[in-house]
Amino acid sequence: MRHLFISLIAILAVSCSQTKMFQKSISSYNIPIEYLHDSKKTNVSAIDSITIRLNNVPIDSITTVSKLKGLVLPFIVFNYSEVNMSVKLGQSSIEKPYDDFFLTSFIEESKRTGRFGIANQPKQDSTYTLDITIDTCSTLSKYRRSNTVIFLLFAYSMSFNEIGFPAETNLQVSTKLRKGDLVVAEKNYRITKTQPFLQSRNVSIEKLRSDFTANMVESLSLCTKQCIEDMIHDVNNSIRN
């Protein structure tokens, strides 16, 4: 009974420290978030100008790791244990502040496909104001560490394995386009995306973890791209009407 208790404490301690160590390891990667603007430049002259206000950026400051349900198979000749972790992307893993990235990407895309210019300050009634509120911005993924021990008669074999799963981003943004004090258009955007994790073969643990973080940042980056393109399309239509 005492042995079982000690073993359980040991397993608990190891799995807790694994989560902490994994969080520390994954926080050391800083991945660029900027994307390629592949929309076709429209080259139309601006109808009017818009002032942008970005109100809320609900992204965690650090990437956090929490433990999920694991698996332990303690047989006599074969031991298998699996630790599953849920990872939530935070600002610490992204090279550029997310709000800066969102605004610069919006401005860049509006230069390519927008029918409006970007003004720094609202000057007159004809200038529109676009209030952007990011309601949800979460990128989650799963990571698994497993180890297998096989006891033979005079020897044993031990193997460790780590796997990353595709990242899922949920981005919800609401916008209000105002002309003076009048709300001209109001819209909510909900973009959810699962980004395939293109895992290279025979890579080191460090490379795998770096790729895993890159996959999460890539997922958020591409979701933001889609959201911004949709927003500019809608603003163009609202201004035209």
Binding site: P32, E34, Y35, D38, K41, L198, S210, A214, V217
Partner: protein, 180 residues
Amino acid sequence: MTYKMKNIIILLSISLGFICCTAPKYITKKQSEINKLDLDNSITNYIPIADNDLEASTVLDSTYCLLTNKKYLKLEKYINQLESSGNNSSDFYLSKTLLQITNGDYPNAVKSVRLINETDYILLKRLLSIDMNNELAKTNGVFDYNGFLKRYQDLIDSFPENESLKKIVAIRLRYLRYNY
């Protein structure tokens, strides 16, 4: 056989296996074949060769055949032959660049790509030039993701109708992000 010899043989076989199994970082492919691929979930860096360019140039066509059949030694001989015969056409320099890229000889590939005539292979010359500079920057530890993103962005904006190029460049950036 001594213990030392055994070790050497094992090491040699492992190295040979590693060399044989390591795929080149850049794959040269015909544009028509690239069009058939699903590029959305790919991390392979393709070098697109226009089908008409292959039809128009014997040198490029021969290079392409040898590259796709992985006859790298034969290709090296072929390039050396052309060089010794005084060939200094754009076809030759492009072929030489492709071989050097396949061999991972990026410093010399940068030099060869510069020798391609400004009016020939305009897209390919620009693409390979950015690729090679990016490889050199990585080697020298002065890599700047945003700088290269801007250069690739300018490239796709110069060829707005080329949808395949957008996908090829998107893979380049994915590769850069994953290897930052």
